[in-house]
Amino acid sequence: MMETHSTGIKSEAEIGGVRGLLRHVYRSVIRHGYPDTPRNRSLVIISNLFLHIHSVRVHKNSLRAGYTLGLGVLSFVFFIILAVTGVILMVYYIPSPDQAYDRIKDLEFVIPGGRLIRNLHRWSAHGMVAVVILHMARVFYTGSYKNGREFNWVVGIVLLVLTLGLSYSGYLLPWDQLAFWAVTIGANIAASPVELTDALGITEYADIGGMTKRLLLGGNEVGADALIRFYVLHCVVLPLAAAVGIGVHFWRIRKDGGLSRPGEKAHGHNGEAP
């Protein structure tokens, strides 16, 4: 326990009245004054868990609209929209071939706002894939994978794969014809090493393709087992992996000295932070 009254200075806890209480509560949450001075503008960033992924000051070049096009932030914004609408959809959805489709129909025609939420989720998913690809192109063409940022580019590639995986695993969940046959194609592609093993005549002994397909679907066809596997991937495994990956991606941006800019000092090829 900390000794709080030893200095003799009156602490807020001792200011009486309702006003004192309210101030006490406010100060216990927000520990700095209004952010209109350099000091408080720094504190507002430093003392907030969610904001401290930012540095207190950023280079002007990082804010040039024509440089970043806002694509990195937009990718994250889409991720947030998808997480929120996704959780709402989870409240109504049941991952079973008997009920999945009916539940989607309920969302479309019975549950107030259900259709809007599903539309938001669907279009934002397409939006996220598109924006992530454009973000990759921006980072590439501005040479931003250099000068200590090499590994963050690799993290970005992992996030691209996770984004595609998230979108694709969600594709099966409505359990309609579109979902079923698109995922059947995907599963057949997973089984495609059969092409090679067949041509070599060794499928009997080493059926790599068939194994991969069964691992993905939990059987030879798209059925109840496949649906629950895709559901778990879509709602738990991949979002968690993506959240961790995004955290690493952001953290490294700061460790690498913020966004790239023309004429920045080189800081070694070993990813050393400046």
């Binding site: 939006g127 990759m136 590994f151 046959w181 495609s192």
Partner: protein, 251 residues
Amino acid sequence: MSVAVKPEIRRERAFTEPKTYGLMALARGKTAAVDKGPEDTVPTWPTVMILEITLLMGAMAAMMILSLLFDAPLKEIANPAVPENPAKAPWYFLGLQELVGYSALMGGMIIPLIVLIGLALIPYLDRESKGIGQWFSGSTGKRVTLRTAVFSFVLSAGLVALTVNFGWLRSWFPEINQLVIIAINPGTVLVVGVVLWSLLVVRQTKSRRMGAIAVFTFFLVSFVVLTWVATFYRGPNWDFYWSSSQWPGGH
């Protein structure tokens, strides 16, 4: 030279005894910079916050409008007995599905793997440190991007046109071993094409960054071309149609 901003001692700390905080900023230079942040920086609050919230609200508004205007597709309930024809993957996989027609192994697994490994290796293959923070790393890069875009467009669209009009190895030699088609198909031709092209660019410009620009541009353009073809020109049995109104069976 260092500038220390010494705050007044605050008397109303919530839980701890009063502490003094010193916030220090270090700036290089002979005189104190006036009205200009150190190293050309601006405070994150409020500038960055406003931009980020603008992007958040803009994206949410755009998605909201889109969602009010257009409904997400929902077909009949899944039925394993009635195949969709054509059954198309989501748009971002259609470029691959276009290649899968020749060899599922190449188009669906090996080429995507090559592309992903290639993308991940870019920073380690191109280790030049000039041209950072500049679009296309300058005018040479712009020229390389443009030329590569034209070349890869011609090559990928040409390959599609060739196969649509004249078929591929299987239609010329019906008895051919599938191993040959796994090795030689439009997908692998594109991969060989990009490798040769980027080696040529590296030789001409003596720059690996330019080689990387060639590889990436090639990947991007052929991805767009193949995706476009598969989205708009592929119908039942993956046959080529200029418009879905020409599809047989009155779709």
